[in-house]
């Protein structure tokens, strides 16, 4: 199969999936007993039928579901995700405002988490069944078993409240003006603008939430790296490499780890869903104004247009990531080319 044909085929397959995602998001938001009116109008307005009627008409709650879905779909095609009932702003604009904070946080979490995870995994596999292996295994098991919100609270209470080493919740000290937006990432922006005070503050504030996320990520990565490397080290080509008289270091890093990392890379791609779980909880504890906090506020106030917008965006990113992964497989796996 030629590459353009392969892309086309994969692309056509994602269309029903994307349509399905919009249907599910719409169904969840609409086929529900909860009434957004109760959550979003003040108590005295609830007794006034006129206000309720205006509210219903404004948000299209008086039209039949199919019509509402088609309107929604039409708006989507124009890049209009609707308006949040709570913030009263376009959801696309809200997401654009909240997303950079999440990207900043999860980048730190992934980088340190994957780095530490691979390091611990390799140590654990190389000195298999030694004291250090048991130590790493138990630590990583604790890492994946500890509720991330407890980890966040512990870190905050020890390093912020008790020791006072690091600043508390929030992305930037309220007394410091955030840097003017270039990328939306505070650390990068403040550096580019030469605002060292903001840079120092935002960087320090990234440490606690970033490392909480990294702890969680590294637990998962360490476990996978360990078992994958153990499997690879049992292969014939490792014995051959050793028989050739290569240094143990070369055998493990060049012949072992390189092959063992293939499943790890796959998992890192899939982990983005887990990361999001982590960031929703971490962002709500560290008052981190990211997409997780936005989603959390939307769910507690039954702001369904916003819930729909965010869950759809996230599902679409997932579909996009998988699409890219499939394209990569075209180059990695020769069987696809020949099929």
């Amino acid at each position: 199969m030629s590459f353009p044909l392969y892309i086309l085929r994969r692309f056509l397959l994602t269309i029903p999936l994307v349509l399905g995602i919009t249907v599910v998001a719409f169904l969840i938001a609409n086929a529900v007993p909860a009434d957004p009116i109760n959550a979003n109008l003040p108590q005295n307005a609830l007794n006034n039928p006129e206000i309720i009627a205006v509210f219903r008409a404004k948000w299209g709650l008086d039209k039949p579901p199919v019509e509402r879905y088609l309107t929604y779909l039409g708006n989507l095609l124009r890049g209009d995700l609707g308006t949040s009932i709570k913030t009263n702003r376009p959801i696309a604009a809200d997401i654009a405002r909240f997303l950079p904070a999440t990207i900043e946080l999860s980048t730190v979490g992934i980088l340190f988490g994957v780095g530490l995870g691979i390091l611990f995994g390799v140590i654990s596999a190389v000195w298999r069944n030694s004291l250090i292996d048991y130590g790493v295994r138990i630590l990583s098991l604790i890492g994946v078993s500890f509720p991330i919100f407890l980890l966040a609270l512990l870190a905050l209470s020890i390093f912020h409240a008790q020791l006072g080493w690091l600043p508390g919740p929030g992305r930037i000290n309220p007394r410091i003006t955030p840097p003017q937006t270039i990328t939306g990432l505070y650390v990068v922006d403040s550096l580019l603008r030469g605002n060292m005070r903001a840079f120092q503050d935002t960087l320090l504030r990234l440490i606690l939430p970033g490392f909480t996320l990294a702890m969680y990520v590294s637990g998962i990565i360490a476990r996978i790296t360990r078992s994958s490397l153990l499997e690879v080290l049992g292969q014939d080509y490792i014995r051959t490499a050793r028989a050739k008289g290569l240094r143990e270091q070369t055998v493990i890093i060049k012949h072992g780890l390189r092959n063992a990392l293939i499943p790890v890379v796959t998992i890192i791609g899939l982990m983005y869903g887990n990361l999001l779980v982590g960031s929703v909880l971490i962002e709500s504890i560290y008052a981190w104004p990211g997409i997780g906090l936005y989603m959390f506020r939307a769910s507690t106030s039954q702001d369904f247009p916003a819930i729909m917008g965010v869950s759809m965006l996230i599902a679409l990113i997932y579909v996009g990531v998988n699409f890219v992964v499939d394209l990569l497989y075209y180059f990695i796996d020769p069987r696809i080319r020949l099929a």
């Binding site: 029903p16 998001a25 909860a34 991330i148 769910s299 039954q302 579909v319």
Partner: protein, 294 residues
């Protein structure tokens, strides 16, 4: 030498004894599994006997003893409404353990039904079911669960329902693969040749061979289900506010940071239980994956 091995020695009882010896042997070699099992059993007993052990009523407020640190009368202190923390932590087991088990049980049941139908019937039916499965997998667990609980309102059963919705697809995928594999085996061919019905073939010959991997996945999964459930509750989307639920109790900690006993004890309770289930799951996987056993 005469071959006088008696076939009658392979009675049902001796087969079971052999199996039990196998299990006991592996348990002895896996102290971690034993530790996990012990902790889970202890939590179950504590939860069952909560009304007997607990010194107070889990909902009884005491305005004279707000946010008291641990003392003789309240060994884990009291929370922001003067409720006894020890009592509430004990009662928490009654909510969390069933919630985790229910999520995994119902999630795997739905997954097994969908996956086996898709794998067995094949064709267009398979195509449609698998596309639906992929659709649900596209939403990250917590986001879909948050959307569902936001729609239904905070309640333990609603949270479990939301978790089942996000839980079944991975089981459906795995079972489908196993059924596809088993479908082409000789014993299925044999059953078909003697005129067995499709339903009989699926439930009596194919599924029994696919259940073991599903069980392992389920055991490995209970810890995860409990964590996600606690996370939902932490966000205020699980148990109703007044219930003694662990995740909910930890969430109070955001406002009562310095009164560490209010959030630390229920948090550690979650961690202990999840760790115990993960210990069991890990041991089980090592046991059944011969590549990792040496």
């Amino acid at each position: 030498m005469s071959l006088t091995y008696s076939t009658t020695s392979l009675t049902r009882a001796s087969v079971w004894r052999k199996r039990w010896e196998d299990v006991a042997h592996h348990l002895r070699r896996n102290p971690i599994v034993v530790a996990g099992l012990t902790v889970v059993i202890v939590w179950c007993v504590l939860g069952l006997l909560a009304s007997v052990i607990a010194p107070y009523d889990p909902l009884a407020q005491n305005t004279k003893a707000l946010k008291q640190p641990p003392s003789v009368s309240h060994i884990m202190g009291t929370d922001e409404l003067g409720r006894d923390m020890f009592t509430r932590v004990l009662y928490g087991a009654r909510i969390t353990i069933p919630a985790g088990l229910q999520t995994v049980t119902f999630g795997s049941l739905v997954g097994i039904i969908v996956g086996s139908l898709a794998g067995y019937l094949g064709g267009l039916f398979d195509e449609i079911l698998m596309r639906i499965t992929e659709l649900f997998m596209a939403f990250p667990t917590i986001v879909l669960a948050m959307a569902v609980t936001a729609a239904l309102g905070p309640d333990v059963n609603h949270a479990v329902f939301a978790l089942v919705i996000v839980w079944w697809p991975s089981y459906a995928r795995m079972i489908r693969g196993l059924v596809l594999d088993a479908k082409s085996r000789e014993y299925v061919e044999a059953a078909r040749s003697v005129g067995a019905s499709g339903f009989y073939i699926l439930t009596r010959t194919i599924l029994p061979n696919c259940i073991a991997p599903a069980l392992i996945l389920a055991t490995l999964d209970i810890g995860n289900a409990i964590l996600t459930f606690a996370g939902l509750s932490f966000l205020g989307l699980g148990a109703a506010p007044e219930r003694a639920e662990w995740g909910r109790m930890v969430s109070i900690g955001i406002d009562t940071f310095d009164q560490w006993w209010i959030w630390l004890y229920p948090g550690v309770a979650i961690a202990l239980l999840v760790m115990a289930f993960n210990f069991i799951g890990d041991g089980l996987r090592d046991l059944l994956d011969p590549r990792l056993r040496r």
